[in-house]
Symmetry: C2
Subunit: 378 residues, 2 copies
């Protein structure tokens, strides 16, 4: 069903398709120039038309954050899938089902215990699995350090029996906390170097390590070279958001996702406009809180998408948002933004805001909205 | 499909049905004792079996936060519905559809502009609507102060033409920031008094005001008397959560919702356990951050639900959570909580955590899990 945006129900997650397409081209073009494959992370969009656009632009396979995403991608013809979360042993039967149906599914581990569990299951089932080892390049989450003595032990468990050691993978998640281009380029190099070093240790020990996978949107857009890397994973680049804007890897006019809302009331004495986008629409993500600029629950724009400087969603209840614009009186706000005025709010974190909606309203270049459904749950 | 909890996929939103039932009985019993009706807010559960249990226990109608909730309740036989968010003029056709199908739907406004828009639409459509006026009792969000000169003007617009003035409604949302029983009882009285005062002003002016609706879980459980009040609205009491625990209106053993997760890795050097419940499962709600006790992203319990003192979900990425237990070494944590260990995490805010899941796993007294689906979107 095609709807003119002015008639969309509020709140709505509005996706600007021309911006989405430019963002996809930008990242793909950069990866092509750096000579690496791009394996987009579908956890941001969880939406087939977005993933299809990424693949059409040249992406090689996808990265997923849940086996539910893997299943849906596979059912829609994508068979090169990397599940980039350490494998829980009791999820192996789900993975087995996908592999037996022909999915080229990569599993991930960062421990001897994890590798042994996959190996045991593979033997019991008589089924081969591709297994990746997670490398910790910046101490922010999971993975083995490139120099960890356990790395070789884990790799040996994988390289024998029915498993194949597909490669090493890392993610410089700490890049979200940076904003200086120099520091970002350094972290991208640190990410590359940690992963390449791990791969070289394995190869020096006579172990195979065909692939070297790195990535986060900020490091992917900041890396100067990616020697030794075979593929890059990134997710939020397709939509971008205020966190990425603060990191400095996108311009305001590249932000493709926003929440369409409308004014449902005023508290002129307090300088508040009340809108129908609360945290249920925006999510509770306050990712810009500790960045160079805190955008509250989001930056307010006109319905047409023009950024209104200083106007923010300052507070959020479940279905109520409080919009403020410092320096403008409550009475003036009430007259400039009367009941029913439509606004668009740019989110802090596109992955979290998208998840609040069963579908995006994808707005084409000619201004029509089409619902693009997205996956919910695991 | 019935599943033993030990075989549930993780992450899962686990609902302890005996606790849920006791919570429902507790609030209903209290409202019966205070001589008022209870109109539960379904925005917490968005789940029919929960709502059915509330109605079976004696609730009179429901409160909704979206017209989507109203529609679903009505399609399942609930016809007394109060939409407790100020009416956006362009949502009136949706309300009209429900009213024409026989739903006794209450609409809300707090402005002359809002009342006029509803009145105009009612005249154009030749359709009566029940309209409530929102009163602001604590300055935390929307509504007119009881003494606001606009109150009578708004009421007069409603009382003429095709609309009926159904009553006045308030919500002491600031109660979430309290934790002292005395202060809570005082706020409950402030909430009651503001709403009753508004009703009396209307009646003194010769306007009808049959109903007086107040409520929030903390004030409902703290009010000493509710003279002049006809109904109470409350939502989170059905599940309770860590925010309510900090407010002091529930015990740990009353928390009915938790997230079942499992250990997927360790970083022994940092004292971290990595689990498969990140913010996608818990939500980004950090409601306890500024309360008397900050629980991070949640309090960790054993699979059986026993609170492990000091163990918290300290940090969350999309599908990764970092669990810590200060004072216990990383090596000991890795040996006490090996890969695959199942844990349950009590959420800060049940409304936000529930929304991350397409269904609850409702665990009955005999320990079986059944999926109870919940509504997503608007």
């Amino acid at each position: 069903m095609i709807t003119p945006p002015a008639r969309l129900q509020t709140p709505a997650a509005v996706l600007d398709v021309p911006r989405l397409e430019r963002n996809i081209q930008r990242m793909q073009g950069r990866m092509n120039a750096l000579g690496v494959r791009l394996r987009p992370h579908v956890k941001t969009s969880k939406c087939l038309p977005v993933i299809a656009a990424q693949i059409a632009a040249g992406a090689t396979g996808v990265t997923v954050s849940t086996l539910g995403e893997a299943q849906r991608c596979f059912e829609h013809g994508i068979d090169d899938i990397l599940y980039a979360v350490a494998m829980a042993p009791d999820k192996l039967p789900q993975a087995l089902d996908l592999v037996r149906r022909g999915c080229q599914l990569g599993l991930l581990t960062d421990s001897l215990q994890g590798a042994q569990a996959i190996s045991r299951f593979a033997s019991e089932q008589g089924q081969a699995f591709d297994v990746w080892i997670e490398i910790d390049c910046d101490g922010h989450r999971a993975g083995l350090r490139a120099e960890d003595p356990a790395l070789l032990a884990v790799a040996r468990v994988i390289a024998q029996g029915r498993l194949s050691l597909a490669g090493v993978l890392t993610h410089a998640g700490s890049s979200y906390a940076l904003s200086d281009p120099q520091a970002l380029a350094q972290l991208a190099e640190q990410e590359r170097l940690a992963c390449v070093t791990a791969a070289e240790r394995l190869r020096a020990a006579g172990l195979p390590c065909p692939d070297v996978s790195v990535g986060s949107t900020p490091t992917a857009l900041s890396a100067r070279e990616l020697d030794g890397v075979t593929e890059v994973r990134a997710g939020v680049y397709a939509f971008f958001d205020l966190v990425m804007h603060n990191v400095g890897v996108c311009q305001a006019e590249e932000l493709a996702l926003s929440v369409l809302t409308q004014v449902i009331g005023h508290q002129p004495d307090k300088g508040w406009i009340i809108v129908d986008a609360g945290w249920m629409a925006m999510s509770r993500d306050r990712g810009t809180q500790h960045q160079q600029r805190d955008f509250g629950y989001g930056q307010v724009c006109t319905q047409a998408g023009h950024w209104i400087e200083g106007m923010q969603l300052s507070a959020a209840n479940q279905e109520h948002g409080i919009v403020t614009l410092p320096g403008v009186s409550g009475a003036e706000l009430a007259s400039r933004f009367p009941l029913g005025t439509r606004l668009r709010i740019l989110p802090n974190h596109a992955c979290a805001t998208g998840a609040q909606f069963p579908h995006y309203q994808a707005i084409s270049a000619c201004g029509e909205a089409r619902p693009w459904s997205r996956w919910h749950g695991w």
